[in-house]
Each structure stands twice: as structure tokens, then as C-alpha cells.
């Protein structure tokens, strides 16, 4: 872990209760960088870079199943836990930490 890793920005995404289940939320973290935040049906919050490694598909709009999301562009299946693309395709997207405080969801980046 280097110093950069230690200093993180915290963004309020919304109340846990208000976040819709199995539908991505888009968070703009830089001018041209977005993060997709998902509330899974088990209540867990997961966040990954909003960009499929294949052709830049918008992952926040994909169909969510368990701990995976299917990219709407060409149906790549991506694990929300570790960002890994599932076989037979390959690649990886960046994952982000999230935080739950007093029922509010935050994204760290």
C-alpha cells in the first residue's frame, strides 16, 4: 500500500434504504471517470469502475445477478466482488471500497 492509497475522497451516494436493489447508480468521480455502485439483493453494496474492459460498456446499466453484472454492450459477465471478467472472456475492472455509516452509503476513491 503506498501513500496514495491512504488518502481517499469520500462521496455520499445516498441512504441505504433509498438505493434501488439490483439497479446500478452512477457516480461521477472525475471529469471522465465514473463508478457504478450496486445494492445487491443480499443488501451488500459493491462498487466498480463504470467501464467494461471490452469496449467501455456502461456497467451501471447492466443486469445484476447475485454478485455479478452483465455488461449491456456485449453481455460480458463481471464479478462485483473482485472486478474479474468471467470465462470465456477475460480482463478485470477496478473495484472501489464503500462504507456504510448511520444508514448512509459512501463511496471511497
Amino acid at each position: 500500500m503506498d501513500m496514495k492509497e491512504l488518502i481517499k475522497t469520500k462521496v455520499h451516494v445516498g441512504s441505504l434504504l433509498d438505493l434501488p436493489e439490483r439497479v446500478g447508480k452512477t457516480v461521477q468521480v472525475q471529469k471522465d471517470k465514473e463508478v457504478a455502485v450496486f445494492k445487491l439483493s443480499n443488501g451488500k453494496i459493491k462498487a466498480i469502475e463504470n467501464k467494461c474492459p471490452h469496449k467501455g460498456g456502461v456497467l451501471s446499466e447492466g443486469i445484476v445477478s447475485g454478485e455479478h453484472v452483465f455488461c449491456p454492450m456485449h453481455d460480458w459477465k463481471i464479478c462485483l466482488e473482485d472486478g474479474k471478467v468471467q470465462e470465456p472472456d477475460f480482463g478485470c475492472v477496478k473495484t472501489y471500497e464503500t462504507l456504510l455509516e448511520d444508514g448512509e452509503v459512501y463511496l471511497l476513491f
Partner: protein, 803 residues
């Protein structure tokens, strides 16, 4: 132990395949460097014709992307050509004066297209068809020019010609022999192929040899030896390839037509191997993908110091599919004094099959119009199977399961089952035994076998059956709707009806889904089936909808959306146009485009702006994103037209108003033309109406998309009311019996026009269908208005959180 230095010259399919095989043996043996002349990572050259046809991008045919090289610690120099091997120093030298030492060297320089030495061959607009660069030249030419000439009527030439045809060019194929593909097909099959391709619009000039390419800077045409000429502003040379032996020649390696190699792919320079199209084994340079995979395996074993079975040459087979024409040939397929043939020729269906025998042994085969048996025959040919105790004619007939299974049983583990992706029988068996695959689809997901052309599916199924033996569950092999279940569409819909299921989750639980929350295939399908069975009670599940249908807008490649408001029957007015124009100004919409369906499409709208744009437009959604009625295209009809005999706009508007928002298995397009000139292209729509004297003709199952299909005449009716009634019943029958994502053109072929007519002929059934249709239509509300009025949904789906 220090790693040995391995250098590969040539970053193509053969060389990289050899590297993959080496890495399979050991990842720690070599420090690997690869040189490639092209600026791309390794891609599938076989699929270039798909790129040319425009539906595939270079990235889709990439076999090993940049990351693969990184992950395997391979140093890659692209756009750089090795010009010399210095065997004394054991180094290679590139055209950028890079000097890289090697302990072992593999040459895999492939082939170069043979360019006929004609006057004018260097003019602009003359190209080969070998790599991505050539493909780009052809794509570019098709945008500005019309007339293409392809020199060469072999496999490659015909693929190029088909691609150019798809790009809208006028294509002539010039061939020196009297029949096409004479190296792969006998005369009968060659002639059949020509007839079929002529039907598709290709023109042929056979027994012609080109004398000169004329023009100023750019080509303007061809002159032939018989004095005739042909105008052309693009010339593609596809007369053959020759092994690329420049480097070997310059470095003193023995060459003939190709680089001469022994049974272990070694050249006569120590520590230097050659593989793929540049190599010549036993007098034969191979130009196909299967032999190159076999060679790569042998080379890898040998170079890694393992006991390797020597390479003994390959029997060749060709399997070609030029827009629906299946052609296959293998082995030695020309009869002569000592080889006799057995033929079947079914002129009616355009099917021709031939096997060639030497004594009792099968040595070659040609199949045209139906190449299902290709793989099996190819295997028999490779083994020179003795058929003396078989009823000869049965060899050409489809075989029962037992025979199929026994064929794969006799295959060795390293025999390739899937030629497109180079998947061996062994790899499939491994996927079944170690990864627990139990269906063809799972094997596809796990190994990529049958992922590209699908031709090897039956063989994959045979391997599965053989490997699982008594555990093999034939029922799991029927058309399951996806990998999460073994149930077919009909079983699921029956289950929903019989058990009164009302939610997606409930369907999955009760019907024993194998994944907890399904996948991107079954979730939208179940969502549709539940609503179809129970239109008034079922509540649509937005998280099981594909993005476009969830957002009620079409997502574009940059993540923005496009918006298409309804314009009933393609008729609009000044008020609407003014509102649209104001919206374009207010939201700075970058592109306004008129669609093929007579509406206006606003491109580049951000997700957050969508609800506001809809509100300001104050029009209904055109469902341009939906598995639903899209548009009803109309001609102007009797209102203004001098020929139109009917009120096409009136009927079109009524149809669109009645059926808008209907949920269907796939998109539905309609058109109404007031007379047989069919200006609204009624013959190529899911449902098309053509005005005739005293009524309408109704055509169904037309499609102008990927698989063009002319519609069939369903009925002639006298009045608009009858037209509406037939349409309602027909669409409802489609809704109730089609698979999700099955277009009407595919559905009508599956269930049969006569069957649908017999259902609709029955007055009572027609009434019932229409009653159920009306029930389904009763729940329609314009989705844009619904979202605008619902602040919660707007926030949940359309809000981006800024930092």
C-alpha cells in the same frame, strides 16, 4: 537456472499458437520475445471477411490482446519486421536495427498474397485481401466507389466478393478456370455454387485472364486477353498466397516453396524452427488453420524437450459458408482411373454429396448445400476408413447417435473439434470432467468451442455424450432457454400457467433454477412470459429488463442515449416539429437524424436529461428501444398520390394507435402501402399491408435485416376493420407461441404459414385471440409520462451523482 531466450518472428495465428502450447508445457522455460510486422496483436485472420462485412470489429477477432502478452511476460515489438538471422551470433536483426539474441528461434512469417505481375498492379485501388490494412482499403473504397472486380474465384476471392456485395458494391469475380473453387470442389459443386452466388447478385467472368489494369492514378478497369474490358474502381487480387520465405532466404535457410522443415518443424539451421503457412513439410506448405494447430503442438513438445510424436502432415478439409451456402470438401476428391465415386444429387433442394473411394477405402468427399456430415466424413478420410462391410450409400446419410459417438470415440485427445477456436477433444473432455460442464452451452462458455461458426456443435454434443456415458442427460440437451435451467421455453410457460406462478424469483424457485438470480438471458425472458400469461396482474420487473427497455431510451456507445418520439404513421405537423426543434436547442442535442421508420431520432442525450427532454417534447414514446411495436411506415396513399388506391396513412395511424406499447417477443415493424408499388416496403416487414383494388393484401414474416426475407401473403381482406382484426389475432398468436427474442420471420418459418392460417381461419379462435390482445393492450400507459410523474423512479434510474 537462467531462462533460455526464445524469439518468435511473426505475430500471427501459427506462431502465437506455438507459444501458447509452449506455455502450457511450462511457463518458466523461456524468456519470450515476439516480432510482428503488423501493428496489431494476434488476430483471427479467418474472420477478416466478417470485418469486411461490417458487423464485426477488429477487436472482436483479436485472439490474444495486449494484456495476454503482458500477463505472460512476453516482449512484443509490433510494426517491426525481422530482416536477418545471424546464426553464428545467434541473433535476429530488425528493420529498426534492433538486435535480439536467441537460444531458440521460431519463424512463423505466414504467407504473402500473390500479386499478379500485371501492368498497372501498383495503381491506387488495387489491393490484396490478407490483413486488416487491406480490409480497411476495401471498406474505404466502398464508401466512394461502386464497381468492384475480384480476381480469383477461390475461397478467399468469394469471401471478399461477398463482403463487397454486403457493402453495397457491384461485384464481378474474374476466374481463370471454368468453375469456381476448382481446388476444393469438383465441377458439379462448383457450378452449383456459382448459381447460388449469382442469385445473391455476384457476377462471374469465367475462363478469363487479365492482361492489364488500366486507369490514371486510380484503377478504372481491367483489360482481358480476349480483348474485352471491365470497368472497375476497386480491384481485389485473391489469386492465391505464397509462403513468406524472404527472411529464411536472406539468412541461408533451405527453402523450396516454403521453408523446409522435418517432422519436428526444425529447419536446417540448428535451433531454428518454422511453423504455419511459411513452412513446407514433406513438399507441402499448408494454408489452413487446422494443420497449423497440429504443427504448433509438435513444435512445442519438441522445443520444451519433451518426447514428441512427429508431425506426419495433415489431410485437408474446407468448410465454407458464403452467406448461407454450405460447402465442404476433404481429401482427394477427384475420381480417376483407380478412384471411384458415389454421388447423390438432389436438384430440387440443391444438395449434392459425393464420396471418393480407392478400393474399399474412403479418401475424399464433397458436400454441397448440406455439410452436416462433413466432420464425420473428414474423420473417416483421415483414417482412410475401410467401408467394405458398410452399405455404401448409408455413408452419405445422417447417422444415429451410436455411430456419432463412436466417431468421436476414435478421435485422439489432441484432434481438433472446433477449428475456429482450435479446441481439441481433450480440452472438451477436461472441461466436462474437471469443470463439471454438462451441456454444449456450458462447454461453449468454458472452452469457446462452437462459439464462432457453430458448425462443430453436433461433435461437441457427441464428446459430451461419450464422456458422461450413462450420466449423460439427453433432456439437458434440448433447447434450454439459457445455462441456468434445463427447461425449454414451452416447459417454462406451461409451468407458469399450471402452477400459477407470478414472479421471476418464484419461477426460478419452483422450476428449480440452477443459479439464484438467473442471467441476462433468462431474466428478461421470464419477465416477458409472466406478463404474456398474466397481462393485467403482472408487475413488470425493471431490474430484469435490458437497459434500453428499463430506461425507455436507446443507449449509445458513449453511454448517452437517443430519443425517438412517436409519430403515428410517420405523419407530423408544425407544432410537433417546433417542439422538437426547441428541445434540440435547449438541451444542445448534437445530432438530429431521420430514421428509416419515418421518425426523428435525437442523439446524445445524457441520462439525467432524459425525463426533462420527454417532458418538453410532450409526445409519446416511439418505443424505438422495445420488444414491441416500433413504427408503422406508410406511403402517402390516396390523400395525394396519383396511383394510391387506398388510405394508407389512415390505416397506418390506426394500427400504430391501437398496438403501441404492446409487449412482444421481439421488435415488430409494420408498413402500409396504398398500391403494389409498395413505397413503404411492405414486403419486408413483420406485417405489411399492400392496397389492391377493393381491399388489402396482408404480408407477414418479412425482414429487411440480417437475414433478409420476403413476407408471405397471409390473407386478402376487404376492409380496414378486417385488416385490424387479422393483425390483432396474428400478433397475439405470435406473442403466445414464439420464443423470447424470436423475430416473426424466424417464428413463421418454425411454425409454418399454413399452420398460422389454419388457426386464424377459425372464427372463434380469432375472436379469443383478439380478446386476449385487447386485455394486454388495456394496461398500456405511455412510459415517458409515467416516469415524469414518478419522482422516485426518476431519481433512482436517471440521476447521476456528481462529486
Amino acid at each position: 537456472m537462467d531462462k533460455k531466450k526464445l524469439v518468435l518472428v511473426g505475430n500471427g495465428m501459427a506462431g502465437v499458437r506455438a507459444i501458447e502450447e509452449i506455455l502450457k508445457v511450462s511457463e518458466d522455460l523461456f524468456e519470450i520475445t515476439i516480432f510482428g510486422s503488423e501493428p496489431h496483436p494476434n488476430y483471427n485472420r479467418i474472420l477478416l471477411s466478417k470485418v469486411l462485412q461490417g458487423d464485426t470489429k477488429v477487436k472482436d477477432i483479436t485472439l490474444n490482446d495486449w494484456e495476454w502478452y503482458e500477463e505472460n511476460n512476453i516482449t512484443l515489438y509490433t510494426g517491426e519486421t525481422v530482416t536477418k538471422i545471424n546464426a553464428d551470433m545467434k541473433v535476429v536483426i530488425s528493420d529498426k536495427d534492433r538486435v535480439i539474441p536467441y537460444d531458440e528461434l521460431i519463424i512463423a512469417t505466414g504467407s504473402v498474397p500473390f500479386i499478379l505481375p500485371l501492368p498497372g498492379a501498383d495503381k491506387e485501388g488495387v489491393t490484396a485481401f490478407r490483413d486488416i490494412k487491406d480490409t480497411d482499403v476495401m471498406l474505404e473504397a466502398s464508401k466512394n466507389y461502386k464497381k468492384a472486380a475480384v480476381i480469383g474465384g477461390g475461397l478467399l476471392g468469394l469471401e471478399a466478393a461477398r463482403g463487397l456485395l454486403n457493402l453495397g458494391m457491384d461485384v464481378s469475380v474474374i476466374h481463370i478456370a471454368p468453375t469456381l473453387m476448382e481446388r476444393q470442389l469438383d465441377e458439379t459443386a462448383g457450378k452449383l455454387l456459382q448459381k447460388e452466388l449469382e442469385k445473391q447478385g455476384m457476377k462471374f467472368l469465367l475462363e478469363k485472364s487479365t492482361e492489364e489494369i488500366y486507369g490514371t492514378d486510380r484503377v478504372e478497369g481491367l483489360k482481358f486477353k480476349d480483348g474485352t474490358q471491365l470497368e472497375a474502381d476497386l480491384v481485389v487480387m485473391a489469386v492465391g498466397i505464397k509462403p513468406n520465405i524472404e527472411l529464411a532466404k536472406a539468412s541461408g535457410i533451405s527453402i523450396n516453396r516454403g521453408i523446409i522443415v522435418n517432422d519436428f518443424l526444425q529447419t536446417d539451421l540448428p535451433h531454428v524452427y518454422a511453423v504455419g503457412e511459411c513452412a513446407e513439410h514433406n513438399g507441402i506448405p499448408y494454408g489452413l488453420v487446422a494443420p497449423l494447430y497440429e504443427q504448433a503442438k509438435v513444435l512445442a513438445s519438441h522445443i520444451c524437450g519433451q518426447e514428441a510424436a512427429p508431425y506426419k502432415g495433415s489431410v485437408l478439409s474446407t468448410q465454407l459458408k458464403v452467406s448461407g451456402v454450405e460447402v465442404f470438401s476433404a481429401g482427394d476428391f477427384m475420381e480417376d482411373g483407380e478412384k471411384k465415386s458415389i454421388k447423390i444429387f438432389d436438384e430440387q433442394d440443391g444438395v449434392y454429396k459425393k464420396i471418393v473411394l480407392r478400393g474399399n477405402k474412403i479418401v475424399g468427399a464433397v458436400l454441397f448445400g448440406d455439410s452436416k456430415e462433413g466432420n464425420r466424413l473428414f474423420s473417416m478420410i483421415k483414417k482412410e476408413a475401410d467401408i467394405s462391410d458398410t452399405e455404401k450409400i448409408t455413408i452419405l446419410q445422417p447417422i444415429g447417435e451410436e455411430a456419432g459417438a463412436s466417431l468421436v470415440a476414435t478421435m485422439s485427445a489432441d484432434e481438433i473439434i472446433c477449428g475456429c477456436n482450435g479446441v481439441s477433444k481433450g480440452a472438451i473432455v477436461q472441461a466436462i470432467q474437471e469443470k463439471g460442464c454438462t451441456s454444449v452451452d456450458e462447454i461453449k462458455a468454458c472452452t469457446s468451442a462452437s462459439r464462432s461458426c457453430g458448425g462443430c456443435k453436433p461433435l461437441v454434443a457427441d464428446v459430451l455424450q461419450l464422456t458422461l456415458g450413462s450420466e449423460f442427460d439427453a433432456s439437458a440437451q434440448k433447447e434450454a432457454i439459457c445455462g441456468c435451467t434445463s427447461l425449454s421455453r414451452d416447459e417454462i410457460v406451461d409451468g407458469i400457467k399450471e402452477k400459477g406462478l407470478t414472479h421471476i424469483r418464484e419461477v426460478m424457485n419452483v422450476l428449480g433454477w440452477e443459479s439464484e438470480e438467473g442471467c441476462s438471458k433468462c431474466r428478461p425472458a421470464l419477465n416477458y412470459y409472466l406478463a404474456m400469461v398474466n397481462p393485467t396482474k403482472y408487475e413488470d420487473e425493471r431490474e430484469s429488463r435490458f437497459v434500453n427497455e428499463r430506461m425507455h431510451a436507446n443507449i449509445q456507445k458513449d453511454g448517452t442515449y437517443s430519443v425517438v418520439p412517436r409519430m403515428y404513421g410517420g405523419v407530423t405537423n408544425a407544432d410537433e416539429l417546433r417542439r422538437i426543434a426547441d428541445v434540440v436547442d435547449k438541451y444542445e442535442i448534437p445530432l438530429v437524424k431521420v430514421t428509416g421508420g419515418q421518425r426523428i431520432d435525437l442523439f446524445g442525450v445524457s441520462k439525467d436529461d432524459l425525463p426533462k427532454v420527454w417532458e418538453d417534447l410532450d409526445m409519446n414514446s416511439g418505443y424505438a428501444y422495445g420488444k414491441s411495436l416500433r413504427t408503422v411506415k406508410t406511403c402517402v396513399g390516396e390523400t395525394f398520390c396519383r396511383f394510391g388506391t387506398q388510405d394508407s396513412m389512415g390505416l397506418g395511424i390506426n394500427l400504430e394507435k391501437k398496438f403501441e406499447g404492446l409487449q412482444t417477443p421481439h421488435k415488430v415493424k409494420m408498413a402500409v402501402s396504398a398500391c403494389p408499388r409498395s413505397c413503404a416496403e411492405s414486403g419486408f416487414k413483420d406485417i405489411g399491408f399492400i392496397g389492391i383494388d377493393g381491399g388489402w393484401e396482408i404480408y407477414v414474416g418479412g425482414n429487411g435485416g440480417t437475414h433478409v426475407r420476403g413476407g408471405d401473403l397471409l390473407y386478402k381482406v376487404k376492409t380496414d376493420e378486417e385488416a385490424m382484426e387479422i393483425t390483432g389475432a396474428y400478433l397475439q398468436y405470435y406473442r403466445e407461441t414464439a420464443n423470447y427474442l424470436e423475430r416473426t420471420s424466424a417464428w413463421i418459418e418454425r411454425v409454418g404459414l399454413a399452420h398460422v392460417q389454419s388457426v386464424l381461419d377459425d372464427k372463434n379462435k380469432r375472436k379469443e385471440l383478439n380478446a386476449r390482445m385487447d386485455e394486454a393492450l388495456s394496461v398500456y400507459r405511455d412510459p415517458w409520462k409515467e416516469i415524469i410523474e414518478d419522482k422516485k423512479t426518476t431519481k433512482e434510474l436517471f440521476e447521476t451523482i456528481g462529486v
